[in-house]
């Protein structure tokens, strides 16, 4: 569903992503792990079509910057970017109209209820706390029912209830056959449902693992992550 091939992103002399290649399959939760500055956010932004890069990225068989691809993916940024002068409900209406969605109101209500925003429908974007903004950002990213969902540090700033709901939502997306890519530092928060992991260091993917391979070898995510990142540092 998501195919990233030889993606390189440079800022002047700084190579943020260096010839990155990986895939994320439908029905799988893939992780992008790595220390600060590894290039995870840059890669997610490249996949979302927000940055220029060399190489190729395909979403459901379409180039990531094509209109078809845009219909198939949802992006939840690390820092929620909302409109100050739109209410919670209007953000969802805006997404629905922009993506030409039909019969979206029921789904929007459900999402708001799940994330405990149903009583905040008339609140303006600027009046929301950081956590509420993050929840609304998640609702906006999910509303169009994307096939490929890109999360950048989705748990940051969320309360325990919202974290639980988000985890459930991710599992539901996986069960529905969608591809979920999560960039995160919080290994514990994704330990229950990940299927494959890509560990990044200095802009490169230094290791790729499938969960079943790792479990068969008697390893766990945290140990592998620290071993690899330490080895790379040495």
């Amino acid at each position: 569903m998501l195919v990233v091939s030889n993606v390189t992103k440079k800022y002047g002399k700084l190579v943020a992503n260096d010839n990155v290649t990986f895939t994320a399959e439908g029905g799988e939760v893939s992780l992008l792990l790595g220390p600060n500055g590894a290039g995870k956010t840059t890669l997610i932004k490249c996949i979302s079509g927000l940055l220029r890069f060399t190489g190729s990225i395909e979403i459901c068989g379409y180039g990531n910057k094509t209109l078809q691809a845009k219909r198939y993916f949802g992006y939840i940024p690390e820092v929620p970017a909302l409109y100050d002068m739109l209410t919670v409900w209007e953000h969802l209406e805006f997404i629905a109209r922009a993506y030409s969605l039909e019969n979206w109101e029921g789904r929007a209500d459900q999402l708001l209820e799940r994330f405990e925003l149903d009583d905040k429908k008339k609140k303006l974007g600027r009046e929301l706390s950081k956590g509420m903004q993050q929840k609304l950002s998640i609702c906006c990213g999910i509303l169009s029912e994307p096939k490929v969902i890109l999360f950048d540090e989705p748990m940051v700033g969320l309360d325990p209830h919202a974290i639980k709901e988000l985890k459930n939502l991710i599992v539901e997306q996986k069960q529905a056959g969608n591809a979920v890519l999560i960039s995160t530092h919080m290994l514990d928060s994704v330990a229950d449902f990940w299927d494959s992991t890509n560990i990044m260091m200095d802009g490169k993917i230094v290791d790729r693992r499938k969960r079943r391979e790792m479990e068969a070898a008697g390893e766990n995510l945290e140990d592998v992550f620290f071993r690899i990142t330490k080895r790379e540092n040495d």
Binding site: Y11, G12, L14, A16, N36, G37, G39, K40, T41, T42, K45, S48, G49, L50, L51, R52, K65, L67, Q68, K70, R71, Y75, P77, E78, V79, A81, L82, Y83, D84, M85, L86, T87, W89, E90, E93, F94, I95, R97, A98, Y99, S100, K121, K122, K123, L124, R126
Partner: protein, 536 residues
């Protein structure tokens, strides 16, 4: 004190060392430095070129000092009534306030760093040395004295603002008292000017000059004290200089004493303003305080909660109209429209020559630049949605620019309609001025697009400013050149009112070319969240 001096010197050292990685900024500082040196050399070596002060009226400079003084006094008192002023940064709050260092020493550190920043920010006065020499033939001591009193004025106002906050925080009666005194003070000044006009039969400017030159005005807070200091310097009266400094220092010491009285627990008093300042800076970086937003509380009724129209790209235009409606119930006509129209009407009443009409247009276009370039399209470009929505880049660009293109048209006809009504210019000329205003609006929207196309992902702020300037000049050169050529070479006197027509036509052509050539902007440009670093 070791930690605090370490902090000050290390920050200065690191700021200087960081220039190695920012050559454009280094060049900018070198240019500033050369300007300052050049100005000082001018002062020292050509200081006695003119024996007498040619047509010098010191009172003009007193008026400027008074203007700055009153502006700062008003601004800082108003800020003191709400948040107070802050001598600290959020890093100071997080790291210094909790450290085992004396509160008084930390306050002293805050004062020292504020004075340092103020000196750096006030360096523009040094540039004025050649002008001051040319107009007033001031000596080195006099110009440096002006520089000194300007810094004293700002630092005092910041301390005064904290004092006002301490006095009035949480006490509405005291807030009202401060407001009454403030507006009463300005009322007394206005009444004094009126009395001088009546008494001496002079115009308003001359009356203002007489007022600021009067002896008693020297005791007026901030503005008067500053003028007293500078007059003392010019006249060589030590007493005046001393009284002025005693007033500034005395009140500062009094406020600082109040601040550090008892257990010197002033942290809470400066915390709110520090957080507020930090939030404002953060908002600026994230583009949240660009034009088109308001700070007042907005209550949304049930029947107002919804965009209501639009599908695909067009939803951006409808969303903008909804946002504008939240700012002003008349959507396209907001307080700026009314303010500019009122200004144009007043100008039209007093100005009857064509050339002044063009000056009014130029001033309005200058202001329009900021409201447009930092307007709704810019807000859209620093949020990810416009890049993600599955519609063609061209459609999204047009929809996201729609309100920014329409508003200058409506504003133009209202503003220059008011100008025509009060007799500022003939109706045909005002019509063309309105068209010209609309066309510059279109060009500024185009400039926003070009900036994003050319500067998107460009991390150097200096380079951004430089390229912006070049683009601005490049885009307006054809229309201005066409106007000048046509009006000089082609138009007969009877058709001079058509002078702006080439300007309008060329502007719209330029805007169209920009839109068309940048139609794929959203597919090719880089998204950047405000001014944050691109790599994380």
């Amino acid at each position: 004190m070791k930690a605090l001096s370490y902090l000050i010197f290390t920050q200065i050292k690191n700021r200087i060392l960081s220039l190695k990685k920012k050559p454009a900024l280094l060049i900018f500082y070198i240019i500033i430095f050369l300007f300052v040196i050049g100005s000082i050399v001018t002062l020292l070596f050509f200081g006695k070129a003119q024996e007498s002060k040619p047509n010098a009226d010191d009172r003009v400079l007193f008026l400027f000092i008074c203007g700055f003084g009153l502006l700062y006094l008003y601004t800082f008192i108003v800020s003191g009534l709400s948040t107070g002023s802050s001598l600290f940064s959020m890093a100071d709050v997080g790291l210094l306030f909790v450290a085992p260092i004396s509160n008084k020493k930390i306050l002293f550190y805050g004062l020292i760093s504020t004075i340092g920043k103020t000196i750096f920010a006030s360096i523009f006065i040094i540039y004025q040395i050649p002008n001051l020499k040319k107009s007033f033939d001031y000596s080195t001591i006099e110009v440096l004295g002006l520089f000194f009193i300007y810094i004293v004025m700002i630092v005092f106002c910041q301390i005064f603002s904290i004092g006002i906050y301490l006095f009035s925080n949480g006490n509405q009666a005291r807030k009202n008292l401060v407001k009454t005194l403030l507006y009463g003070f300005f009322g007394v000044l206005a009444f004094s000017v009126y009395m001088i006009i009546q008494d001496r039969q002079v115009d308003i400017l001359e009356a203002a000059k007489i007022l600021v030159d009067s002896k008693w005005f020297g005791y007026a807070p901030v503005a008067g004290w500053s003028i007293m200091f500078f007059k003392g310097l010019l006249e060589g009266t030590v007493m005046q200089i001393a009284i002025s400094l005693i007033l500034f220092i005395g009140f500062s010491v009094l406020i600082i004493s109040l601040l550090t009285a008892h257990d010197a627990d002033y942290y809470e008093d400066v915390l709110y303003s520090t957080e507020k300042t930090f939030q404002m800076q953060k908002d600026y970086k994230e583009g949240r305080n660009l034009s088109g937003t308001v700070n007042r509380k907005i209550k949304i009724k049930d029947n107002e909660n919804g965009i209501g129209k639009g599908k695909g790209a067009s939803v951006f235009a409808y969303k903008h109209m909804l946002e504008m409606k939240r700012v002003s119930r008349f959507v396209f006509i907001d307080s700026a429209t009314v303010f500019f129209a009122a200004g144009a009407a007043i100008a039209g009443h007093y100005i009857k020559e064509d050339v002044y009409g063009y000056i009014v247009l130029s001033v309005l276009v200058y202001l329009q630049f900021f409201t447009t370039v930092l307007g709704r399209l810019k807000i859209e470009l620093i949020k990810p949605f416009i890049y993600l929505v599955p519609e063609s880049s061209f459609k999204k660009l047009i929809a996201a620019s729609f309100t920014s293109l329409i508003k200058p048209c409506i504003d133009g006809f209202i503003i220059f309609g008011a100008f025509a009504l009060t007799g500022g210019a003939s109706l045909p000329q005002c019509f063309l001025m309105a068209l010209a205003y609309s066309s510059t609006g279109a060009v500024f929207v185009g400039l926003t697009i070009v900036y994003q196309r050319v500067l998107g992902g460009q991390p150097s702020k200096i380079l951004q400013a430089l390229i912006s300037m070049i683009l601005f000049i490049a885009i307006f050169t054809p229309s201005i050149a066409a106007t000048v050529l046509v009006s000089i070479l082609i138009l007969p006197d009877s058709l001079k009112f058509l002078t702006l027509l080439p300007f309008v036509i060329v502007n719209y052509i330029c805007a169209f070319i920009i839109f068309y050539s940048c139609r794929n902007l959203l597919d090719n440009t880089e998204y950047s969240e405000g001014m944050s670093l691109p790599v994380r």
